[in-house]
């Protein structure tokens, strides 16, 4: 088809990849850091959280009002303030309502809001929500010009940049987020402790971290649990980063039927309970000796609380098993703290003291502004009341002036002139209802005026005295503390020593037999199987070792290499099995043939090993030289082109019989000198040119 196209008159701007990458990623990174993933240090909220809560406040969803459909809240947030996907807005709101995610929930939810087992919440057309009392405290005084505001995304409305933060939300509820280049993970804390900490700072700004830590003892998770490395908290709170070791709260109980059981009542923070229990089961199943101890794993949680039971076999060492589970499953896990938040418009990692300080200073600013606002209003009110009061006192004159004025404007002018009133006062008088001149009302005006004047004095006093300001803040914090009461959930252990439990702690050691077949493949079989096997097959003694499951073997190859191999690495099989090729069990195996197996630990170190090479070198070395920690090492020094043909433990009273390529046999009766591991040995007399040995044995 004939293609008619428009002439290309596009304006082409040239930019290099370097410029575009920089100019694309930098704004994106800045955006994600400041406006998405990281909370502000003052109110501990990310923008999406703040917007949801603000919408709920605008809608008047106070705790004493009815719930409202989530869809409504989500939709309005998206329309007015948050031009992104609905799913993330709803997920945010849900999380704010979960009592296992938030130390102090900011949203009260009605309906299915998810669970510790990772069940998803119901769709937003089903659930309902409203603000919690704590949220109200967080947003209190928002309408008193206490914070800065910005225009929303389409510049049609205003939204607050931060909340007045009646309580230190960042530390109390914590935060997690991954931005670009920066991330944050702040654990939640006990509300009363943090509030007391802030109060202490306000009392004495020179507070040290150590003193603060007397009050804020450590993180406090809504899910409880135990922090077992309390001694690391000092450093963590100093720098703002560190590792916490969280463990589930578990006790050993005896069930009614007499069997021991591990009962878990608290799980580590942000752990999916169902998944964790499933993984514990998986782990147990992958290890014979562990699953042998466990008879059942049950999740018995219900509306009365969280409870999981690991039922054990009768004679199991429950304490030890619990220690094992702590060590090797997520029953105990590491929580990496990174206290980063936006401060002064930049992401910053901060220690505990700095977080408290910044909150306290912010709170002072907010409180000051609130007082200034209240003062402004009070002064305005006082002004009006004064006007009214004056009017009441001179009511006849006032009426006369008004009556004799042509227009309201003239009346106003005259009133202002006559009594020295301000415009506002004059207007108030003109707007006054006649009822005001009754005695009762007039008295009320005086009373109110006195009260307002007192308030003005009080407010001015607060503004003039930092100490008074602090007192006001402390009082307000104390009020909130009452609302947020509740005991500490997470226990902190100091100087706890990890129980020593090896991975193989429960492994039982059994007898077993390992042998090498004619293809140099290794087999591991039970003693019984082996007994049957040698009835029909002959296996040279050098290639068999009766050993135990926890032993380490030495494998000698013809190139003069010796390898260390754990018995448990060799899969157990039956006699008909093909066995395992050496390369599979030992990654660095480079020989072609296995000549000998020895039990490294069970062989008497005084024993000697005999080596015979193709070209007639014979060496005898002490076994203890081979008991070294390396996985691959030399057993003998070989001449170029030479190789071993026999390796074995020297049996006393026997001689060496060597067979060459032509099947001629040579017997060596002389005692062989004992030399070191990395030596060549000695020549076995004279060999004919080209004579090579192929095998040997002790007879």
């Amino acid at each position: 088809m004939k293609q008619k196209h428009l002439t290309d008159q596009s304006i082409i701007l040239e930019q290099t990849m370097e410029q575009v990458m920089h100019n694309s990623m930098m704004p994106f990174s800045e955006f994600v850091i400041l406006e998405r993933a990281l909370p502000r240090v003052e109110d501990g909220l990310k923008p999406v959280q703040r917007r949801v809560l603000y919408v709920m406040l605008e809608q008047g969803l106070a705790p004493d009002k009815p719930f409202r459909k989530s869809a409504n809240i989500v939709g309005e947030t998206m329309a007015k303030y948050h031009p992104h996907g609905d799913a993330s807005i709803y997920d945010t709101m849900v999380r704010l309502a979960q009592d296992f995610s938030m130390r102090t929930p900011l949203v009260e939810g009605n309906g299915n809001f998810g669970s510790m087992d990772g069940d998803p919440p119901a769709a937003y057309r089903y659930t309902e929500a409203r603000l919690s009392p704590a949220a109200l405290s967080l947003m209190e005084h928002l309408d008193k010009e206490t914070v800065s505001w910005s225009l929303n995304f389409d510049d049609t409305r205003r939204e607050p940049d931060v909340f007045p933060a009646g309580f230190p939300n960042l530390l109390i509820n914590g935060a997690t987020g991954i931005a670009v280049g920066f991330s944050t993970n702040i654990p939640p804390h006990h509300p009363a402790e943090v509030i007391d900490g802030v109060a202490a700072y306000l009392n004495r700004p020179k507070l040290t971290l150590r003193e603060l830590r007397q009050i804020v003892r450590g993180p406090d998770f809504p899910t409880g649990g135990i922090i077992s490395n309390g001694e690391d908290l000092e450093a963590l709170y100093e720098g703002g980063a560190g590792k916490l070791v969280l463990r589930a709260k578990a006790t050993v109980e005896t069930l009614p039927d007499g069997k021991p059981a591990i009962v878990i009542t608290e799980f580590p923070f942000q752990t999916n309970k169902a998944e964790l229990l499933a993984r514990v089961l998986e782990h147990a199943q992958s290890r014979k000796e562990i699953i042998a101890q466990i008879s059942d794993i049950r999740d018995e949680s219900d509306r009365t609380g969280v409870r999981a039971v690991i039922e054990l076999k009768k004679d199991c060492d429950a304490e030890r098993l619990l220690a094992y589970l702590y060590r090797y499953t997520d029953l105990q896990k590491n929580y990496y703290v990174n206290m980063t938040a936006i401060a002064d418009g930049k992401p910053r990692q901060m220690g505990l003291l700095e977080l408290v300080r910044r909150y306290a200073e912010f709170r002072q600013t907010v409180e000051r502004r609130r007082v200034e606002f209240d003062l402004k209003e009070a002064l305005a009110r006082a002004e009006v009341l004064e006007g009214l009061s004056i009017a009441a006192q001179h009511i006849d004159r006032v009426i006369q002036i008004i009556k004799t004025s042509k227009t309201p404007a003239v009346a106003k002018e005259r009133l202002m002139e006559t009594f020295g009133l301000s415009e506002r006062q004059a207007s108030a008088i003109l707007d006054m209802r006649l009822r005001r001149i009754t005695q009762l009302e007039a008295e009320e005006v005086e009373q109110e005026l006195a009260a307002v004047r007192a308030l003005v004095a009080e407010l001015e006093g607060i503004l003039a005295s930092p100490a008074k300001l602090n007192a006001v803040i402390r009082a307000s914090l104390a009020e909130i503390k009452k609302k947020l009461k509740g005991p500490r959930q997470t226990e902190i252990l100091y100087g706890h020593v990890e129980e020593e439990v090896g991975r193989d702690a429960f492994k039982t050691v059994e007898d077993t037999v390992v042998y090498v077949d004619e293809n140099s493949c290794l087999h591991r079989v039970s003693e019984k199987t082996f007994e049957n096997l040698i009835k029909t097959t002959e296996i040279p003694p050098e290639l068999v070792v009766m050993t135990k499951t926890n032993a380490t073997l030495l494998v000698f190859g013809e190139k003069g290499n010796c390898y260390a191999l754990k018995v448990e690495a060799i899969p157990e099989g039956k006699s008909k099995d093909k066995g395992s090729i050496p390369e599979k069990l030992m990654a660095d195996f480079v020989d072609k043939q296995v000549l000998c197996l020895c039990d490294r630990d069970a062989t008497d170190p005084g024993e000697k090993l005999l080596f015979v090479t193709q070209m007639g070198m014979v060496k005898c070395s002490a076994f203890e030289e081979y008991v070294i920690r390396r996985t691959k090492f030399e057993s003998i020094v070989l001449v170029e082109g030479d190789r071993l043909v026999y390796v074995g433990r020297r049996l006393p009273g026997r001689h060496l019989e060597l067979t060459d390529a032509a099947d001629k046999k040579k017997v060596w009766r002389d005692p062989v000198k004992v030399t070191g591991r990395k030596t060549r040995g000695n020549k076995v007399g004279r060999l004919a040119v080209g004579q090579r040995f192929v095998s040997g044995r002790q007879v």
Partner: protein
């Protein structure tokens, strides 16, 4: 006389960089100029004037690149002193008045009189084209500059130039300037003060201070970043040389940077790899000489997935590679395959590894020094001398074998060979996956039915593919396009970050597969840029920050897996409008602005009562609007993406998109402007 007038005008025009080829014929009234083309019509530009008339011939252009070229020329001369062992410190200073100076502590330029020309060596160097010490291979064995032309070119294009030489305990000084004489003719690079002794000194070397003529370079500025990058690179390439860069235009405390790398290329490789995790602690260093070619290599493997070879010949970057790179690659492959066989890493029956298997994650810097290099290729950055390949191969083979056989390096060898094994596995797996994908999509474009909207025409030169963010925008684009030559491929969600994944993982991502299928080029081994179905591949994302992220992700994919498309200029970025400005009332006017500045300008022009709406996403626009402002070839603006500094691009992609969050954090902290407020909202605040 007419002739003289023309001469004057022409010379004046010449000084301003305008040229003329023919002048009207002399004294033959009545006959037309063209008919009178005889010897008198030829212009002979003498002295340095050719440089002013055609600066492009000498320095490329008169924009930023050309301006910096002046500086590179002088620095190259200083580097040559160092490379030949006479100097060990170079200082570059940028002054507030736009001038720059380069000082070295070498032998100092010749101050004695030239036997024939009877002027001092210094004056000769700066006023005569084609004068220099680099022609006879006696004074300079190896050099990288314009072979003697550089210094005089710089002088010709500078407003003034001061040269000082410190030699034999004495200090000499000469001054030059470019000016208009009484006849209005431009006299470039003339001697203002002849070279004379100006005191004594215990320094040695040369000091050249010049100010590029703003009449030649009206717009360009000396860029601190560009210069420091180049100096850093030169310091790496010349181990033991100290380069000091002082920029007096910067605030106190941020003025001076010193580069000195005793480790030379090894340090360079370490720097290059700083965004990645090294696979072994120390770079492998190879130094040697063969047949008059000196070879120096430093290489180190990292956990990244692509290879990166930076090659240089006499300090000149050879971005297009060449015979030296070929020699290096062949030697590495040979030595490593041998080592693999000997060490049992390759079983007998297995085939040898391919060269690329060994080079996965490898960063290497190769520096070759030789006489008379021949440069080929599109941008003349490809080394062509055939003999160099054998020389490099010989040196690298010998030294690298020795390195590899050393037991102490066994661990490193194991790491490299393990990586190669993995790389081969991945390569083979990817081939299989590719074959599978091709089998599946042998029905080709049909597999994309539903999402992809192809265009009717089949002419790649004309066709365009728009890769659009989201189905919402995709719909508008599909409805708004010209279906004859514009195809639309909507992408759901954010594309995969190709920097953190291997090829087989990338291929299993549906969005990436649809891009590959739509483009028609295949990928990896089967990548053939010639099969590209579209002359322009245009990324169309929203104007918001997530759109920016999507742009970056797509560019990363193209950079890593389809770089030839980027290099050939096929990748573009669409520019949707940011604002709509409308005036109601008497004079109804609607305009679209593409940037904040444009918006402000239009808003001022349109006067009061202008309503400004801001577009947050492509889905906000009607299809017709999208067509008019963004898709229509007569009205739209496109940004073509090119790669200028490959090393820098490589760095950026790996730092911004790679695995190492620490390095990314450092970059962000250094470059981010967290205090930047939204200009638009600020303005609105004032209004409302």
């Amino acid at each position: 006389m007419k002739q003289a007038d023309n001469k004057a005008t022409n010379r004046k025009r010449a000084a301003e960089g305008k040229g003329n080829s023919k002048r009207s014929a002399p004294a033959t009234a009545g006959k037309s100029a063209g008919e009178q083309y005889n010897a008198g019509a030829l212009t002979v530009l003498e002295g340095l004037r050719p440089v002013r008339v055609r600066p492009g011939m000498y320095i490329g252009d008169t924009d930023t690149k050309g301006l910096h070229h002046l500086l590179w020329e002088i620095i190259d001369n200083a580097i040559d002193e160092a490379a030949n062992g006479y100097a060990d410190q170079i200082s570059v200073t940028l002054y507030e008045d736009g001038s720059v100076s380069v000082a070295d502590n070498g032998r100092g330029m010749p101050v004695d009189l030239h036997p024939d020309k009877k002027v001092s060596g210094v004056e000769l160097i700066f006023t005569q084209l084609h004068a220099g010490g680099k022609f006879d291979n006696k004074s300079y064995l190896i050099s990288g500059g314009l072979h003697g032309v550089g210094a005089s070119v710089v002088n010709a294009l500078s407003e003034w130039l001061v040269a000082e030489v410190y030699r034999g305990g004495k200090r000499y000084r000469a001054e030059f300037h470019s000016y208009f004489d009484e006849a209005g003719e431009m006299v470039p690079g003339a001697v203002k003060k002849k070279l004379r002794q100006a005191g004594s000194t215990d320094k040695k070397g040369s000091f050249i201070h010049f100010k590029p003529d703003p009449r030649v370079f009206p717009h360009a500025r000396l860029d601190n970043h560009t210069i420091t990058q180049k100096l850093r690179e030169l310091a790496y390439l010349n181990a033991g040389l100290t380069i000091v860069c002082e920029d007096r235009r910067q605030p106190e405390g941020q003025r001076q940077v010193v580069f000195s790398f005793a480790g030379g290329l090894a340090d360079f490789v370490r720097y290059h790899n700083r965004g990645k995790a090294a696979a072994y602690p120390d770079p492998i260093v190879i130094k040697g000489e063969s047949e008059g070619v000196s070879v120096e290599v430093a290489l180190q493997h990292t956990d990244a997935y692509s290879e990166s070879i930076l090659s240089y010949v006499n300090n000149i970057r050879t971005g297009e590679g060449g015979t030296h790179e070929t020699g290096l690659k062949m030697a590495l492959t040979k030595v490593l395959n041998t080592a693999a066989r000997e060490g049992g890493y390759l079983k007998e029956k297995e085939e040898n590894y391919a060269g690329e298997d060994f080079r996965e994650g490898m960063s290497a810097v190769l520096l070759v020094k030789m006489r008379d290099p021949q440069f080929e290729g599109q941008t003349k950055t490809k080394l062509g001398n055939v003999s160099v390949k054998t020389a490099v191969e010989a040196v690298v083979s010998e030294q690298f074998s020795r390195y590899v056989q050393n037991i102490r390096h066994e661990a490193v060898l194991k790491v490299i060979l393990d990586k190669a094994r993995q790389a081969r596995q991945v390569r083979e797996a990817a081939q299989r996956a590719n074959a599978l994908a091709r089998q599946k999509s042998s029905l080709d474009v049909i597999s994309l039915v539903g999402k992809f909207a192809p265009c009717i025409g089949r002419d790649p030169a004309v066709n365009e593919l728009f890769i659009v963010e989201g189905d919402s925008a995709g719909g508008s684009a599909k409805q708004g396009r010209d279906r004859n030559f514009q195809a639309i491929l909507p992408l759901k969600g954010k594309p995969l970050n190709s920097e953190k994944r291997r090829l087989d993982q990338i291929l299993s991502n549906e969005e990436i597969r649809s891009i590959i299928t739509a483009l028609g080029t295949g990928i990896g081994k089967d990548f053939s840029p010639g099969a590209l179905r579209y002359g322009k591949v245009i990324i169309l994302a929203d104007a918001d920050q997530d759109g920016a992220h999507i742009r970056a992700l797509l560019l990363t994919f193209f950079y890593r897996y389809m770089r030839p498309l980027l290099a050939a200029g096929h990748i573009y970025i669409g520019r949707p409008p940011l604002y709509r400005l409308e005036t109601r009332g008497a004079k109804k006017e609607v305009r679209y602005a593409y940037s904040d500045q444009e918006s402000e300008r239009y808003s001022a022009e349109m006067g009061r009562g202008v309503t400004i709406t801001r577009y947050k996403g492509l889905g906000e626009m009607n299809p017709g609007l999208l067509w008019e402002t963004t898709l229509h070839p007569a009205h739209r603006t496109l940004i073509r993406v090119s790669i200028e500094d490959a090393a820098e691009a490589e760095q950026l992609v790996s730092v911004l998109m790679g695995d190492n969050a620490e390095v990314r954090k450092e970059y962000i902290v250094e470059h981010a402007n967290f205090n930047r407020t939204d200009a638009f909202s600020k303005k609105m605040e004032k209004v409302t």
